[in-house]
């Protein structure tokens, strides 16, 4: 399922990152790669803050929908 539907506080493993090449490359540069653990800290109006590779990243709903967990 897409990361945008993940429950707060639960740790998930990223299965795949979709989207256009540049969006995907940017997400991957930030650490959203297949196999990485990701945890949703809070969500607000669809935008979420996640913990990935020991850092916090805020990401919009549109982008979160492209990350499959």
């Amino acid at each position: 399922m897409p990361l945008s539907f993940a429950t707060e506080g639960e740790e998930n493993i990223i299965k795949q990152v979709g989207g256009k090449a540049e969006v995907r490359a940017h997400l991957e540069n930030l650490g959203f790669v297949a196999g990485a653990a990701v945890k949703v800290i809070t969500s607000m109006g669809g935008n979420i803050i996640v913990n990935i590779k020991d850092s916090r990243v805020a990401i919009s709903r549109e982008m979160a929908a492209k990350i499959m967990i």
Binding site: E11, V33, G35
Partner: protein, 830 residues
Amino acid sequence: MKIKIALAGNPNCGKTTLFNALTGSNQFVGNWPGVTVEKKEGKLKKHDDVVITDLPGIYSLSPYTLEEVVARNYLIQERPEAILNIIDGTNLERNLYLTTQLVELGIPVVVAVNMMDVVNKNGDKIDTNALGKALGCKVVEISALKGTGIEEAAEAAIHAAQNTKTIPQHSFSGVVEHAIAHIEEVAVHTLPEEQQRFFAIKIFERDEKIIEQLGLTQDNRKHIETDIEAAEKELDDDAESIITNERYVYIASIIKQCYKKKNNGGLTVSDKIDKVVTNRILALPIFAVVMFIVYYISVTTVGTVATDWANDGVFGDGWHLFGIGAGEYEDVSGEFGDAANVIDAFVTAEGADDVADAIDTESDTFDASAAASALDTFAASVSDDATADYTLVDEETLAEEDVTYTGAELKEAVATYTSYGCEEPDPADYGVWVPGLPGIIESGLDAVNCADWLKGLILDGIVAGVGAVLGFVPQMLVLFIFLAFLESCGYMARIAFVMDRIFRKFGLSGKSFIPILIGTGCGVPGIMASRTIENERDRRMTIMTTTFIPCGAKLPFIAMIAGAIFGGAPWVAPSAYFLGIVAIICSGIILKKTKMFAGDPAPFVMELPAYHWPTVSNVLRSMWERGWSFIKKAGTIILLSTIIVWFTTYFGVVDGAFRMLTEDEISNSILATIGNAIAWIFAPLGWGNWQAAVASITGLVAKENIVGTLGILYGGGDGTVYSNMASHFTVVSGYAFLAFNLLCAPCFAAIGAIKREMNNAKWTWFAIGYQCGFAYLVAFVINQLGSIALGTANVFGIIVSIVLIVLFIFLLVRPYKESTTLSNRAVKVK
């Protein structure tokens, strides 16, 4: 030998703190060629031959953001002697991702692991020796905030520049290495050996920019492509992702060897704060409280005091040091002023010219005791029951109030008046008085018998111009302290997150809220506050729309229009704010659909830095850098414009001779001629008279000048300023005049700030043009449609208005799809 060292690292890893610690005050701040990304260079302390360049914060050497392209181009074209790669010890995995790319460049790399104090405090362990071996470069431990290990890091970088080579220790999987080896052989074998690997990997990733730079032939590309495709097929992924994934797998293996985390899985302090601060229920109230504090201090309280001090004190009459005696002076001057009003009322009513002459302090024959006795005689001749009508005029807005005084009040007034020696109390007699600059300069010029025109130029042109530049600086510095604090403690990034969904709808960034809020106080710091918005499109949009909100200087003007034309109707002022907000929202929606702004919107992805207390020196440094850059970059345009407006206002042809004018002769000035010449432009807006046109021009110096200019132009003759204005404007044309001046180009100071922040002449002119055009059309529609109610409408005007409204609605609702591509602005940079 000169050594160039580049400082590279992720955003928020402490790079700027380290840079400041390394270079101290030996810094040069500018922009990277052709882009608005800030470039900082500085000489290393105690090493005059070592120049350190602070690269933009980046996550990778890919070509997708402007910052990445700028940093990458610098590294491969300028080829610094060494790279000092600063990485955040509390976030090793992500930070090492950049490191694995930097070591491939063939430039000696020294890794500085920052925040070692936090790492140790958490009980985590980093084996820097093992890390260095795994990466193939020297690794040092530092804490940029505490200043530990910094000199060692710099020494290590210098040593590396002179003596060592960094050889990447990591290899990709077999099939990828095979392809890379092949690419090296085919495409990049002419390059120096140590640079080949970086370029080969980039070619493997199909990095268009690098391929273009290298000028590969079609044949070679085709040849290479078969290798890349073979690798992609075997690993079932595209080339770029293969590289990214393998880097992360490699990093994971390094971290396993040399990093021990004490408690795994628990929430960090920052995560806990985020759970509250960005909580769906609490986020907005917390944001509102923070914004209230920022606004209250930097705009209403400390900010106003600072601006008043600078404008009315240093660049005005003068000020009371630390406010000593200020209250006392205000009391006595108020008392004296009231008494003077009563006397004035009776002197006028009774036609007692001899008394008026006697108390005229300007007259050469003035004598305090003679004035006092004249007043006493006069007061005695007026009976206690006699009355005199008087019109009080407010200094700021020229608003009028009718009052009636009695003879009894006159006697009291005379007693008060004479007790001050019939002369206005001098502020210098109360407390510690520091005279303002214009006064000091004026007496200096008088002492050397300076010509009137030169005195005017110096005082009204240059000093007033410099004052206009510097007058805003104190308030700006107060605001910049807050912005620097919010930025460096990490909250600013959260603001963007919290407000993003709301502001995204009309094309602005979550961070646009701050400039607009500050803009209600003054547009200049408001525009400067847009600096915190990273995305170029959002920043430009914010700069263009911020000054639509009425700033403090526009308030007297709004009050004047409300009082003179609308009989003091209470809805006028709120409607001005409403107009401003609607203008911002509509402009945002319309502009984001235009070609200029379409194409490079950024879907929201950003790293949120860990919360931490900023150091005082960093906050102050950031404050000063911004303040100084305003003075330097915006100062010239403001000064020049003020001088030009001064010249055109005070010079003109009287009785066939070109000469300097007094204040009452402004109708003969060059400016009035210009006003007459351009007044027709404003005729469709309902106020095609030269007075209003001239007032709009002087409003460009400072918006509160509109009131003063209208006061001069509509004063004199029969009736008061207000009644003259009421006869020149209808309710409709008055509101159109108000709307135009609220929305059109801001004052020169704000235009200077726009120029500074746009850093591009084309965009500055576009912003000003858009503001004026928008203001014109709004005022046009108000006037034309309003005329229907007055029964003075003309058919042509109504048709044009309706067409405009239809067009406006079309621009608002026309379909638009927010692009999901990250950014193509990078493409423009070579």
